[in-house]
């Protein structure tokens, strides 16, 4: 065994009592093997990675158990010995390649420094070794690249450099903490391949810490599933993903969106957010929420024609000296009433900008946005275009910054109702807010609390309630679940599906996650560099993509064949 952890306990004393981040955790890694450590946020998976190399954040400490690395006990080592192990014999790869490199030093200087610290190579020898390392991690023209600074590299290239740094001391074990979370799918696949091939070539042990079942399915040989500081299941990757034994693993895997078939709903994940399902649901048709508004809405829900928008990157007095970024270029599409339209693309493709243009947060340079046949940018003060905009609400990606921390949930949700005087009395407003909160699965008592008292998924429910309070006909969802854990994502997506059916909403659903798109959307548009490559029916797109970029994206999707068949009941 390369690494053996036995009965590890990690405690974080806080002023509200001791939090046990790890409870008698036992793990082992062999040389030449990739161990996936998977769990949702707060499960304690990163803490274990940090504990191995003695880099626990204060005030955390290991209270019991042993960590044996190649037969030596790491816990009893002093700081000097530990420093020798760290870097030389155990390498680390962190999540964010932006911050794990020093922006003021060239890649070469950082690599040579690390090599000189952790091996016997000096000067010319260290330099040659740096070139060799860069070539190993797949960076071409390594000699020229050594003179470059981190900002001259793309995210994926930077992560390759970080991997080269981790390899500098010729370690026996690599701990990779969410190594691909900050990267786009296309780069994620390359980095995972690289880690896997390095593991095989150099006979390394690799621990890969992640929340993403897809990553695990692609790279790991064995999996350990963590929940609430405990390892609930360990085993061969095919066995754990294909035939999970523990209830938590089962519900976790059931919550992973699948790309191969479309399901009506995600199987319920009671094990995780058990107390939300039982709340009272209101009879929408006869409720205030379901009553139609004064303006009747006819025609296509959203029609976008020849939309263009550029951002100024560098200001200048003269037009020719300005540097512009074309964020949206000649975009056309129509969203029919009642359908869910997906907008897919990698980061920087302009999909969120399109959403903000439709919501009226940005004004286009040219082109029109029609909502129910009304141009929203022409004569913005006119009652028709105001009504058209009012019929449209948005749900944002980040559940932490999308709610005003200084307002009670009641005031957040009631804001549009009060502002537009949609009810006759304050009493009625309060009743409606209570009903809304019940309906999104929070319970009316939530109204008197503040946003910080809720978890990410619960906050997203508050966001949904706020959006519904305007009685919208169109809901724009901008990556509504990409900041959430899979289990919570499943419940939120279910809620959105239900609401759409009950209220007959039109949805514009923006995501980078193809399986989620498959589950949610009727039609889909693929965006790249501000342009639309392809618009297609969802099934047609997944079975026979037309554009070469669509094919490329579909090829990169993590292979989920190991997962349990969708019909199996949890």
């Amino acid at each position: 065994m390369l690494l053996e952890i036995d009965g590890l306990n990690i405690a974080f004393p806080t002023r509200r009592g001791i939090v046990n981040a790890a409870k008698s955790v036992s793990l082992s890694v062999r040389a030449g093997e990739v161990l996936g450590l998977v769990g949702e946020s707060g499960a304690g998976k990163s803490t274990i990675g940090n504990a191995i190399i003695d880099l626990l954040e204060a005030p955390g400490r290991v209270t019991a158990g042993s960590i044996r690395f190649m037969g030596e006990e790491l816990r009893t080592m002093d700081a000097d010995q530990m420093r020798d192990v760290r870097g030389k014999r155990i390498g680390m790869i962190f999540q964010d390649p932006q911050t794990s490199l020093n922006p003021l030093m060239t890649i070469g200087a950082q690599l040579v420094e690390t090599i000189e610290k952790s091996t016997k190579l000096r000067g010319r020898g260290a330099y040659d070794h740096a070139v060799a390392l860069l070539e190993q991690v797949g960076i071409t023209e390594a000699v020229a690249r050594l003179r470059a600074y981190p900002h001259q590299f793309s995210g994926g290239m930077r992560q390759r450099v970080v991997i080269a740094l981790a390899l500098a001391g010729d370690p026996d074990l690599i701990i990779a903490d969410e190594p691909t979370t900050a990267l786009d799918v296309s780069i994620q696949a390359q980095i995972l391949d690289l880690i896997k091939s390095l593991c095989r070539e150099r006979n390394l042990g690799v621990i890969i810490v992640t929340h993403d079942i897809g990553v695990i399915a692609n790279i790991a040989d064995r999996v350990a599933v963590m929940y609430n500081g405990e390892i609930v299941e360990t085993g061969d990757v095919a066995q754990v993903l294909g035939a999970p034994k523990h209830v938590y693993t089962q519900s976790l895997i059931a919550a992973v969106p699948r790309a191969d078939t479309k399901l009506d709903r995600f199987t319920s994940v009671d094990y995780i957010e058990g107390n939300t399902a039982s709340f009272r649901r209101i009879d929408i048709q006869n409720h205030w929420l379901g009553k139609s508004q004064r303006h009747d809405h006819t025609g296509d829900a959203i029609e976008v024609s020849n939309l263009n928008l550029s951002f100024v990157l560098q200001k200048a007095m003269l037009k020719r000296n300005r540097r512009m970024l074309k964020a949206v270029s000649d975009v056309n599409f129509t969203v029919q009433k009642g359908e869910t339209f997906g907008l897919v693309g990698e980061s920087g493709s302009g999909k969120s900008t399109v959403a903000r243009l439709i919501a009226g947060l940005y004004k286009p340079d040219s082109g029109q946005v029609h909502v129910f046949g009304k141009d929203i940018n022409q004569n913005r003060k006119a009652p028709e275009s105001r009504a058209a905009r009012q019929a449209l609400q948005m749900i944002f990606q980040d559940p932490y910054s999308s709610l005003n921390a200084r307002m009670r949930v009641l005031d957040i949700v009631a804001e549009p109702i009060r502002f537009y005087r949609l009810t006759d009395s304050e009493q009625e407003t309060r009743t409606i807010v209570g009903d809304l909160l019940e309906h999104v699965g929070l319970g009316a008592a939530a109204a008197l609390k503040y946003p910080h008292e809720f978890s990410g998924g619960q906050r997203q429910r508050i966001s949904i309630a706020r959006a519904l309070a305007s009685r919208p006909r169109i809901l724009i969802c901008d990556e509504p679940t990409s900041a959430l854990d899979v289990s919570v994502q499943a419940t939120i997506l279910n809620l959105l599906k239900d609401l759409q059916q009950e209220l007959g909403l039109t949805m514009l659903f923006i995501s980078h996650d193809l399986p989620v798109i498959r589950q949610m959307c009727d039609r889909v548009a693929i965006m790249r560099h501000g342009e639309i490559c392809e618009v297609a029916e969802i099934d047609a797109f997944f079975e026979a993509p037309q554009h070469s970029y669509s094919k490329h994206l579909l090829d990169l999707m993590p292979d989920m064949n190991l997962l349990t068949a969708p019909t199996s009941k949890v």
Binding site: L361, Q397, D398, S402, N404, M407, P416, F419, L442, S463
Partner: protein, 311 residues
Amino acid sequence: MDKIDDKPLTRWQRFKDNDIVWSFLSSPGAMIAAVVASVMILACIFAPVIAPFDPFDPAQISLWDGKLPPSWVEGGQSKYLLGTDNQGRDMFSTILYGGRLSILVGLAAVCLGMVLGVTLGVIAGYVGGVTDAVIMRLADVQLTIPGILLAILINGVGRAALPYELRDEFAIYVVILAIGLTDWPQFARVARGATLVETNKEYVQAARIIGLPSLLIMSRHIMPNTLRPILVIATIGLALAIISEATLSFLGQGIPPTTPSLGTLIRVGNDYLFSGLWWITLFPAVALIVLVFSVNLLGDWLRDALNPKLR
């Protein structure tokens, strides 16, 4: 994952749970400073109840008792704890009354500067463009002039604008105005910075999609979220405003000697410094230093408590 409690927290529970309250209760320096500052401020506010004499009542002042040393020094009288000044007023009472005036001027000036600065700063940050440029350049220009000089200027102009017989009566308001107008750029800068951060957050975009007008977005959503850093500079600004008032009065530009503030007392005492009457200037000066120091300590603690990254 958080559990959903059915009962919302009561105000008191929320208060006790607050990180800032907790940080306060676990930093002894801040607690001592808070006790000292609040004892002084309370004593000054309740000066009419606490002080043994009323220095503004001519019937209680006798020139025969003038220039008496503190009670523990030879020649001192027990009824005048800290001695008397040249006009026979009890030093302890005058310090309490003078402190009252100093604190009042400080608070009012900070409030004025804060209201002005935060309003302008939030508008500059939210509206941007030309409005932003005009407001912030104005602030920059004002910051190139030393604060105390500007306060003297505003104070002088303000006094000159008043008819002669009203000058003493309104002197205090002129001083407040002078210090408040000198203060605002600090508040505007911080408020603008915080506004730029908040405006990009999604809750502001959500408010815009709802269709709320800009004024409502600024006042209801952005302003409350900029208050944390504002609170810090307001606390430190209070100490500075008290010093500014004392400086103005010391220079004879501020509060007239008939209604003495701490600064006026120090100035009066300054004339007697070399004739052995040290108590007339020492005690008001010590009171001023202790007050400003404890308020500053509170401000420092507040800055650290509100910005966990500094810890």
